[in-house]
């Protein structure tokens, strides 16, 4: 089998001989479109991974909070409506002990 060690270098050396596409000027109306979008105050959506992560985390946290509130609604409602009392008798004894 022929050694492939230098084949990538050979391919890229040939690829570099391709004449580059001319950059020239922006397409007609491009600069105007971009400037108008900027002037109208349009904000680009950031694709930064940490920002996507942060918004997902926030959504998950909201869902978890809603679920835990709905599951414990009785407990929370009694806490709000009645005077607070230690639920555990042992804990109550401890509190009432002289």
């Amino acid at each position: 089998m022929k050694d492939n060690t230098d084949n990538w270098a050979k391919l890229t050396r040939t690829a570099r001989q391709a004449s580059p596409q001319s950059a020239g000027e922006p397409p007609f109306g491009f600069a105007t479109r971009v400037a108008a979008r900027w002037a109208s105050g349009e904000v680009v959506a950031s694709a930064a991974p940490w920002e996507r992560f942060a918004s997902r985390s926030l959504a998950i946290a909201v869902v978890l909070m809603a679920v835990s509130v709905s599951v414990n609604i009785d407990l929370l409602a009694s806490g709000w409506l009645n005077e607070l009392a230690p639920a555990d008798p042992v804990f109550g004894d401890f509190l009432l002990a002289p």
Binding site: K10, T14, V34, W38
Partner: protein, 198 residues
Amino acid sequence: MAESLDVAGCLERVRRRDEAAARELVAHLWPLVIKIVRAHLPRALDEEDLAQEIFMKVFANLDQFRGEVPVEHWVSRVAVSTCLDRLRAQKRRPEWRWADLGEAEAEVLEAVLHNESEPHPSHGMAARELAVKLLDSLGPEDRLVINLLDLEQQPVADIARLTGWSQTLVKVRAFRARRKMRKRLAELERDERSMTKH
């Protein structure tokens, strides 16, 4: 003319929300931005859309530009990081087989694999397309590094500045990416053999 633009003055006017100055700045930076976009454009993305996104980011973050480096350096960095984000978002990394290659690409690959001499310079365009197809199989960071190093021949120090990575990391990524590219070429060669057998 874009060449004779007073960049510092133009930036000042843009900061004062001058739309005409924004147009001048876009025209001035277009060749730089589009070159980066074309070099790193993920498949199925329009180059104009990506260039537009980069310019919008440049304008949105212009207040962060302190003028410590030329504006072109700063814009290049914004452009490279936007391209990298887009490459990361691309879920599919196709691994092209011999049968997927066009006639010119197969010809240049054959010349690369079997000829002692270099392929003819007229094969440049096909070689470039083939190299880009092979780069599709790499992860976004490796692809970016190998593109800048091997196709654009940018120095390691410049790539480190553009990406914000250390020079060691750039070299490690390049080493790993080149090894993968050689492996892909070897796989394509096996592909070719199996096709000629049948």
